[in-house]
């Protein structure tokens, strides 16, 4: 019964989107609201199916189990391909409603193009990936959810990521309409900027959450593995960052309209490419949903039309633009933002090359290769360094032509001095060259951003004089510097030890003494667990905390997971993950000291805030 209702909701949304694809001024808000609600109705039906453990719904049978905790029953609804596509469509519906409620230039054309895109996604869901397929007779027991997915980080990660991805569809639709009308100008830039920045903020948060989950759940102490699916989310992020900055130039100085349009197209289509790569079965990754090529072909067709169609339109309409005819000098804010565009685009295509290279080689040479972190570390990290260096000076530069470079360099003198001191200090610590550059450039960016803040608010006296976009820039750039710093610092200074503990034994690591005080068996809601109690003391033998890592066996899924336990202090994490034991006398334990890792999550949060806060302000 719920399955039928859910399916009906999905179908009505499909029909409504079809109706709205035809440009007409008839009650756009009502139609958009109806589409949005029917999709959320469908989503709620699916979630209800999970809560009630209704195994007549094939999707629930394949991905859930009676014994699962309620939270993970709910979040498991989007922990699979069909459910997550439905969620994506529901969020698209919300954006459609938002678009209908705002005053947009070329409103009816943008709405109809948006709904065409919506139709593509809805068709994909309804025809190829319908979550409401029914099993008859209904099975007694569900197959359970991969225990790795039964975690709060992974529960939040898809919805937030989709809010990010899906927002760019509106940007895309608006861009195409404006290209068609030769209208890539300041009004257009002003209109799409809040949509871009909002989506970018959520994309940042979504990627950060995925990283945080990997860090906590996988037991490796790592947070980024250059896995194709992770890379697939990084691609639109890089493009969107470039887009935000390119929009600035277009809005303020009416330059770079073609760049901005190209970036807007690429950002959305890279979201589509990401979705395609992950779900078509063309790439194997620990992350990918295992699917059949037929769905892949549908999505490929959708992607091809969107990508080649939009780029073709851009080529066709490229000659006539209403851009500013007076050129700008390279040494100017426009110049630095142009370089920014170039760098970010090259970074983006480097990652894309890394993802696609195995596919290209397989098609041409029929051999299988893998591209690992070595490639990405060498290329991506190296390319990001000049970009970080540029970021130190770029906010200071004037529009059009910078004539007072020496004055700006003078105000940057304390930054340069402190950076040089930091550089020497880290060099003495004998960190690798890559870490050294990352550390010093991260510090340089943070310091130069603070100096800029100090300068613009006249030594912090006039906080209220600046528009909110100024503070968002400060927070965002500071966050980026912090990110570079914390990634490099963590990489340079982390310690990892594989140890064997017996009950009562103490080991020393870093500034801690760790003792295994207890090891016992226990049961959870849907798992058995072996839990260790480790008492952590500092060098003065004061108790710092107790850590309780576990090794869990999930019965329904017949799978083991490591649940690490982490002690969060400001400057570092102490991270314990347990390995196996044969005799229940000696226990293998892996301990990490992860310095500065919390700063990494803080950096992601700062960048998210810079995207989302103050979005409604006009300035």
């Amino acid at each position: 019964m719920i399955a039928t209702l859910g399916n009906l909701g999905l179908l009505s949304a499909l029909i409504l989107a079809l109706i709205q694809s035809y440009p007409s001024p008839w009650r756009p808000r009502t139609l958009a609201a109806l589409t949005c609600s029917s999709l959320w109705l469908a989503m709620l039906c699916l979630i209800w199916g999970y809560i009630a453990s209704d195994f007549s719904i094939e999707n629930v049978f394949l991905n859930s189990h009676e014994a699962k905790p309620l939270l993970y029953k709910i979040t498991g609804s989007w922990g699979n391909h069909e459910g997550s596509m439905l969620l994506l469509n529901a969020i698209l519906g919300c954006y459609g409603l938002a678009l209908a409620c705002k005053k947009a230039p070329y409103q009816s054309a943008t709405t109809s193009l948006f709904n065409l895109i919506f139709l593509g996604f809805l068709g994909f869901s309804f025809f190829t990936s319908n979550p409401f397929v029914v099993l008859s007779p209904p099975p007694e027991v569900g197959q359970g959810l991969n225990p790795l997915l039964q975690d709060i980080g992974l529960a939040l990660h898809p919805p937030i990521l989709y809010i990010g991805y899906v927002g760019f569809s509106i940007v895309f639709a608006s861009t195409l309409i404006h290209i068609y009308h030769h209208h890539l100008d300041q009004n257009w830039a002003r209109f799409i900027k809040p949509w871009v920045v909002f989506s970018w903020g959520f994309l940042t948060l979504g990627i950060g959450l995925g990283s945080w989950w990997a860090y906590r759940e996988l037991g490796w102490g790592g947070f980024w593995f250059w896995d194709p699916v992770e890379n697939a989310s990084l691609l639109p992020w890089l493009c969107a960052t470039a887009l935000v900055h390119s929009l600035l130039v277009l809005e303020k100085r009416n330059h770079l309209p073609q760049w901005t349009a190209l970036l807007a197209i690429l950002t959305f289509t890279l979201c589509l490419v990401g979705i395609f790569l992950v779900r078509s079965g063309i790439l194997t990754s620990v992350h990918s949903f295992a699917l059949d090529p037929e769905r892949g072909m549908y999505f490929l067709a959708f992607l091809a039309i969107a990508l080649c169609g939009s780029l073709g339109l851009l080529v066709y309409k490229s000659t006539a633009t209403s851009a500013n005819k007076t050129p700008f000098k390279l040494l100017s804010k426009e110049g630095s933002l142009l370089f920014n565009n170039l760098f970010l685009t090259v970074l983006c295509f480097t990652v894309l090359l890394g993802i696609l290279y195995p596919i290209i080689i397989e098609v041409i040479y029929a051999t299988k290769i893998s591209v690992g972190s070595g490639f990405y570390n060498a290329s991506f990290n190296s390319l990001s360094f000049p970009l970080l260096a540029l970021l130190c000076i770029a906010p200071y530069l004037n529009w059009k032509h910078e004539k007072k470079l020496s004055t700006h360099l003078k105000s940057l003198a304390p930054t340069l001095l402190l950076t040089a001191i930091a550089f020497s200090w880290f060099w003495i610590q004998e960190v690798t060259l890559m870490c050294l550059l990352g550390l010093t450039l991260g510090i340089a960016v943070m310091l130069s951003t603070l100096t800029y803040l100090w300068k613009q608010t006249r030594q912090f006296k006039q906080f209220k004089t600046q528009p909110s976009s100024f503070y968002r820039m400060i927070i965002g750039h500071f966050g980026l510097g912090l990110l570079a710093f914390s990634i490099s610092a963590n990489s340079a200074f982390k310690q990892e030890k594989d140890l064997v503990f017996t009950l009562g034994q103490t080991h020393e690591i870093g500034q801690f003494n760790i003792t295994l005080t207890d090891m016992h068996l226990d049961t959870g809601a849907n798992y058995f667990t072996r839990r260790g109690i480790f008492s952590v003391q500092d060098r003065q033998n004061q108790l710092v905390t107790h850590l309780l890592p576990e090794v869990r066996y999930y019965v329904a899924e017949a799978q083991n997971t490591t649940e690490s336990d982490i002690y969060y202090s400001l400057w570092h994490n102490l991270y314990i993950a347990m390995g196996d034991t044969e005799d229940a006398i000696e226990f293998a334990v892996r301990i990490y000291i992860q310095p500065f890792i919390n700063l990494l999550w803080l950096a992601c949060l700062l960048m998210t805030i810079s995207g989302i806060w103050g979005i409604r302000s006009k300035r």
Partner: protein, 172 residues
């Protein structure tokens, strides 16, 4: 921008779409179960052994059937598989362990505690040898024919049924 410059992303995009299409519709698209490594050879570069000084290369493994088993001391599921490997004894089959991303002391400790079923143990600390095999986790096993070609690949713990039906059945 010049039209020519804008034409570049368009053509790259078109090429990419064609390539994806070819890849997806490839006639030998393997069914879900079969690994892409079937028919391929072992990696050619030599690799360190866990407890021997001389490195090993793929040619050293030719001349007999080899079951390559990727394991590690940190791999909990490997302990589930281990008794099945200890029980495996076939005159035509040589068991070669590939210790992956593991410190030597831990690997040796694990083998001492659980028993060592392997004739040879390869030590691949950074994973560069196993990456060529497309290994994404442990345990994974490869059955290699005497001429060095992979004839069976399984990602996961080997059960007695799998050993019976997929490995022993392929031996003479």
């Amino acid at each position: 921008m010049q039209r020519i410059v804008l034409f570049l992303p368009f053509s790259v995009a078109l090429l990419l779409m064609v390539m994806f299409g070819v890849r997806l519709t490839a006639p030998e698209t393997p069914p879900q179960q079969q690994s892409r490594m079937i028919g391929k050879s072992l990696p050619t570069q030599s690799i360190e052994q866990l407890n021997e000084a001389e490195p090993l290369s793929a040619s050293d493994l030719k001349g007999r059937y080899v079951l390559l088993n990727v394991f590690a001391s940190w791999c909990a599921v490997c302990t589930l598989e281990h008794p099945n490997l200890m029980a495996l004894n076939h005159p035509e089959l040589s068991l070669v362990g590939v210790n992956w991303k593991d410190k030597k002391v831990n690997a040796n400790g694990w083998l001492t505690r659980h028993g060592n079923p392997y004739d040879t143990v390869i030590w691949d600390y950074d994973g560069r040898w196993v990456v060529e095999l497309g290994v994404t986790g442990a345990p994974e096993s490869f059955l290699v024919s005497p001429d060095g070609t992979i004839i069976y690949h399984y990602a996961g713990a080997l059960t007695p049924q799998l050993i019976e039906h997929e490995i022993l059945s392929r031996l003479p």
